[in-house]
């Protein structure tokens, strides 16, 4: 009966498919205490159509689907880490009063219920789905952490991006050493799904940093994004050599040669203040990009041209696909 209802509503696909989600906010006129337009988690239901899912919340920064149960999403939010079960509908706050303003999260694909979170005063991990937490930032001089990722092949290796650069731990956060981008605020860190030793890190003002030694060290990638702020990195899940960046100033940058050269792909976008970018894993060449307080835009040709695709007026912190349905 329940399944029938879900099918009738068109909410839950019978066949596996990847569904685009957004952590977005309509906060143009919002200050704490003001009326908030629908903000938080959005699910794309069709061309230009999005459905607000779960509670209204002004600040969701990071997100991931549970690798063992993709109907359960995890959201790094202002109020803490949120488990959003039932495809984002049913929320539970998993953290308490000792941390706030979460920035990012990473779920270990090899260990059920293991979640790393980056927050304003450090990095934490839970190995039991949020029942208990362990702080991992004791070895960091400055605690503020904007990005956290683990090595998908080797979960002992954790990379964290803070206000002083990229830090690497080889003992699951027990100790840290600087791995690159010293002195720069890190905005995002991503590992290539095709080439696990290839990592990219986006920074505030410092441009793009790359690692080709499995995250052991990061080097600046020429002048890509330097002097502006890069917010997002997207590896094309279909074409191993294709990578995209989102930034304010550069807009959307796409590389077709694994990050060696970059080309601006902003034709059709209303501005170059791009905060998130993502490739569609099921439609080669299709991309989505979020332009600050304008809308989400869709491209069918890897950014050569763009058309508006909903969430008008929003600020999007994260665009991400969730693989749903039969596995």
């Amino acid at each position: 009966m329940r399944l029938f209802l879900l099918l009738a509503l068109g909410v839950w696909p019978l066949e596996a498919q990847s569904v685009l989600h957004a952590c977005a906010a309509m906060t143009q006129d919002y200050v704490v205490g003001a009326k908030l337009k629908p903000s938080g988690l959005f699910r794309r239901t069709g061309p230009g159509a999005w459905r607000h899912t779960g509670f209204n919340h002004p600040f969701l920064f990071g997100a991931a689907a549970d690798p063992f149960d993709p109907s359960t999403l995890y959201l790094a939010g202002g109020n803490g880490l949120i488990r959003a079960a039932a495809h984002g509908e049913k929320w539970t706050i998993l953290t308490g009063s000792d941390i706030t303003e979460l920035r990012d999260l990473w779920m270990d694909p090899g260990a059920r219920n293991t979640i790393y979170i980056a927050h304003t005063a450090g990095i934490r991990v839970t190995r039991n789905g949020g029942k208990t937490w362990r702080e991992l930032s004791a070895g960091l001089r400055r605690k503020y952490t904007e990005a956290v990722r683990g090595d998908a092949r080797n979960p002992s290796v954790i990379l964290a991006g803070g206000e002083e650069g990229i830090f690497r731990s080889e003992d699951r956060g027990g100790s840290w050493r600087l791995a690159g981008a010293a002195g720069f605020q890190i905005m995002r860190i991503e590992q290539s799904p095709h080439e696990p030793c290839f990592w990219l890190a986006a920074t505030q003002q410092g441009g793009l940093f790359a690692s080709r030694d499995c995250g052991a060290s990061f080097e600046n990638v020429g002048s890509v994004g330097a002097g502006s702020n890069l917010y997002d990195i997207a590896f094309d899940p279909v074409r191993p050599d294709r990578v995209a960046l989102a930034g304010c100033g550069p807009g959307v940058l796409v590389s077709g040669d694994g990050g060696k050269s970059w080309e601006a792909r902003n034709a059709g976008l209303p501005g170059a203040e791009v905060t998130s970018v993502v490739f569609d894993p099921e439609r080669p060449g299709r991309m989505f990009a979020a332009v600050h307080e304008k809308a989400v835009y869709r491209s069918e040709d890897a950014g050569a041209a763009w058309t508006r695709d909903g969430l008008d007026g929003s600020h999007v912190n994260r665009l991400w696909f969730v693989r749903e349905g039969r596995r």
């Binding site: 205490g33 908030l36 919340h57 929320w91 706050i93 009063s97 001089r141 304010c248």
Partner: protein, 580 residues
Amino acid sequence: MRCAIAFLAAAAAAGAAEQPGFEQRVRSVIEAHAHPRRGEPGYGTIAARLWLREDAAWCSERLEQLLAAGPSGDMFWMFPVTAIAHLDRGQLTPGARKALREAWRTYFPYRGDTENHWLLYYTMLYLMTELYPNDGPETWYTGKPSAENREEARRWIESWIRLTTRRGQGEYDSPHYASMFLIPMAYLSAWSSDPGLKRRASMMIEYLMADYAAENLDGTFVGAQSRVYDRQLLEKSANVANDFGWAWFGLGRPSSDPPSGYLLYYLLAHSEPPPEILRLIATDRSRPYTHYERKRTRNRWRFHDELHGPVYKTTYVRREYAVSSDQGGVLQPIQQHSWDVTWSVPEGRGVQNTFFTLNPHSSLRELQTYFVFSPDFGLTDVVRSKRFYDSPDKFSGGSPYEKIVQDQDTVIALYGVPEEARFPHINGFFSKDLAEIREDASGWIFMRGGDALIACRPFQPYVWKPIAGGGKRLFSPYRNNGVVVQAAAASEFRDLAAFAEAVKALPLEIGLEPLPWADFRSLRGSRIEFRYGQVPKVNGVALDYGKWPLFGGPFLESAVDSQVLTMRHGGLRRVLDFRK
């Protein structure tokens, strides 16, 4: 209507020598909100009528209407409805009560990013879970059961009390936001079922009241402040704190008619008069005194090794005026106020009774220190609600390039603004309500505000620029700069000219290179030596910030980390000991 008239009578009387009594003031506020003269009645009217035990049927109906429209406002929604829930006392219909309870499942308030937000948020969550102690996780927006919500909230509230009584408030001495700390403490003292928390909340009310009492002038919360709004920075009596000063001690007038809803909610939970010793501290201005306080910065997420930094405050108070300062720097984001002279204006509405200077400063670094703003949008986001933040003409905000020392009623502010600063100049606020302003050939500017005489010696040339609404702005476009300010009471001199002669006779040396400095013998006989970036000396002795008390002065004493506040006045003594 009868009740609204009662408030009007009380408010009118407030300006006269004879104030209505405490109970009458309390009653008039509650009556006025219960029967508003304007606008649609909201949660405040419901809460006030429930307190009065009036119109229960209307309260239920109106509550259901408001909730059906959809809650908004985060913690500023939580505290009105928590009051309603606790003032219900069997008056609401089951339907209204159910609707209110249901809202705590369906509405997800943001916890906010400041100390007052969190205290409101957690106190309200705590008190609501006390009403429904055994409810399951599916009944709360948090997804946690009552016991877990309550314990999380209790721990944070207790940690805030502990931190505040050891290291000072982070969002300190705000003439607007002070009320947001008083409301939760009033609620807990009235409605918590935990005797320990109830007692500590009661003590915190006195603690916060004492903090205000020692630093008020005619009900106005004077001094260096963590957060103040632009209009209220200049028109001091327009602050919410004035409502509390009027209600507690009969000082001045409320900021508005009727007084703010913040006072209402406080009084609905806590309508006892202040202890006599606090009334005396708040009203006795028979002798000048210097009062010291240590506070702390807000959470500094970035660019600092310590989460909180110290704030060292000095406040000189006498009947005619007050002078107050912190040590300078960006101690709070956006709305900091670092120093001023405020003169007494018993009838303060519309009067801009203050003088100060500042380096207008705005920066992404400031915002990213205290918030998680993204680098490209933080400034724009702030300016949307605080439109002066990024203005070169602004009068609010701290600056990393301002260093301050104060001794009694003398202030020296030095400015070492780097070339790359967004606004490399100095603003000085010269109120439309200054009775006289004289620019002297010596370089001093002399002025009179109320019964305060003020002398200001800018280090560098300046021009005057008009201020919309009146008054003028001193604009000095020199990066190495400073002012020496000396105040005195009009009763101490024959007239402004005599004051000017006395100040001009005081030994003063100033310099600008490589960074500004001053060496001044004050009107009170202190020699103040101050070099930008160095610890100031008073009478040859460097200030020892390490010994700065949490509270120190004739009325209040508390050592850092002690968790004990001792109040004194004449033969009276009262101790708040939070260790027990």
